[in-house]
């Protein structure tokens, strides 16, 4: 009976069930222990933020809103003379990103100046004796410096995937000729070098097909040099522009 085949794969073979299983199996997942461990790590991370960080976020959000309004006004006046580079993908080197595209670089808020640190290569070249010295004595690196290093490394490795996003934009433009709009493609690079929490936001105008294509592409990306990325991962946000 064909019912038996659907029930427990016994009895007469049902070609329809096999065909549907083959097609829908494409949506199945192949879970790995590391992914579950990464989720557990993410959940274990303290969620409460200090008052300073909360305020910093509010300030950054307010600044972003103002800059967006300024950018909208500026674009209305200068639409005709906009840069015509196609499907530009901008990789922000700061994290968390504080500017919204398109914002002239000079208008973007600047991070506070950071005192120059000794070159990283020298520090690495020294023989490691940290196991003997007490951990507390080890010089702590400025987290912002680590963030910048992570961003630079990821940015470097991202360049090989830029063509995938450009292809998504090109395909989207075959269906609809966008004359404006961009969206953010955001994700977290895990310490294992995979991407997680891939999503888009700030779409204007709405381009679901392009966003879906970019999200699917970003999920396949892997990063080999993740030595400085901590267990909390590194958040990345790319700006994908839809118009010519």
């Amino acid at each position: 009976m064909r019912d038996d085949y659907a029930w427990d794969r016994t009895g007469e073979r049902d070609a329809f069930v096999d065909e549907m299983e083959a097609l829908l199996g494409a949506f199945d997942v192949q879970p790995r222990v590391a992914e579950g461990v990464a989720i557990a790590r993410e959940v274990a991370r303290p969620r409460s933020r200090s008052a300073v960080r909360r305020h910093a976020f509010v300030i950054a959000a307010a600044a972003a809103l103002v800059l967006t309004l300024v950018a909208i006004a500026a674009r209305g006046r200068e639409a005709r003379v906009m840069d015509r580079s196609f499907g530009a993908i901008e990789i922000p080197m700061s994290d968390p990103p504080v500017s919204i595209d398109p914002v002239p670089p000079e208008a973007a808020p600047r991070l506070p100046a950071i005192a120059p640190l000794p070159p990283l290569t020298e520090e690495r070249a020294r023989p490691r004796r940290a196991r003997v010295a007490p951990l507390a004595a080890a010089p702590e690196r400025d987290p912002r410096e680590v963030q910048r290093e992570n961003a630079a490394k990821i940015g470097q490795q991202l360049r090989r995937y830029g063509s995938m996003l450009e292809r998504c934009v090109e395909e989207g433009r075959k269906k609809k000729a966008y004359d404006k709009g961009y969206f953010w493609l955001a994700f977290t690079v895990t310490a294992e070098g995979t991407t997680t929490n891939v999503h888009t936001s700030a779409s204007r105008p709405y381009a679901p097909d392009v966003e879906a294509c970019c999200v699917a592409a970003a999920r396949t990306w892997t990063f080999t040099d993740t030595s400085t990325i901590g267990p909390e991962g590194h958040e990345v946000r790319l700006t994908v522009r839809l118009y010519e």
């Binding site: 069930v17 829908l24 699917a216």
Partner: protein, 180 residues
């Protein structure tokens, strides 16, 4: 003469879901990772019939994150599969209310499902709600009827009926013969 110990090494039995849940509550991340491996396909199939395909994977992660936060409240650790299935349904329904439709691309990146798969998924989503999830667990996650019953907490009889009727409707909607 001392007799050499010749104890045959037995493979360690697989830990049960209940043991893994207890270990995960105690903070063992690897135990939670093992629970994820065992049940992510179940959760994926459940959210797939309720939320956009492009967001299913992220939603699976959200479901497991929510489950881990609530894990200490799970009274019967052996009931983890139906419990996380219920969380998946709830979160997927919430997601659907605010979800955007993600359309299939004609030219998808590597490993993306083919366009015909999206057509079948669309037909699957149009099945009556009672049958939709059971058929998805069978066709997406590849579970057999008895496995579906064990994981979801439904009776085997209900699963069998849902599979039979759901497949019949799906067969008809896909243009196949429906005389089972």
């Amino acid at each position: 003469v001392a007799q050499p110990r010749a104890r045959a090494r037995r493979p360690r039995p697989e830990p049960s879901d209940a043991e893994l849940v207890e270990a995960a509550v105690a903070g063992q991340r690897e135990a939670f990772g093992e629970l994820y491996v065992r049940h992510a396909r179940l959760v994926n199939a459940i959210v797939l019939v309720r939320a956009p395909a492009g967001e299913a994977r992220d939603l699976v992660h959200e479901v497991f994150a929510a489950a881990l936060r609530q894990l200490p409240t799970l009274r019967d650790p052996s009931a983890f599969p139906p419990w996380i299935a219920a969380i998946a349904r709830k979160l997927a329904a919430l997601q659907r209310r605010s979800a955007r439709t993600i359309l299939p691309m004609e030219d998808q990146p590597v490993e993306a499902p083919p366009p015909e798969a999206f057509a079948v998924l669309d037909a699957l989503r149009r099945l009556p709600e009672a049958y939709r999830e059971t058929v998805a667990l069978r066709l997406v996650a590849g579970m057999t009827g008895p496995e579906i019953a064990a994981r979801t907490g439904m009776t085997p009889g209900s699963v069998r009926v849902n599979l039979c009727r759901g497949l019949k409707i799906l067969r008809a909607s896909m243009g196949g013969d429906d005389d089972a």
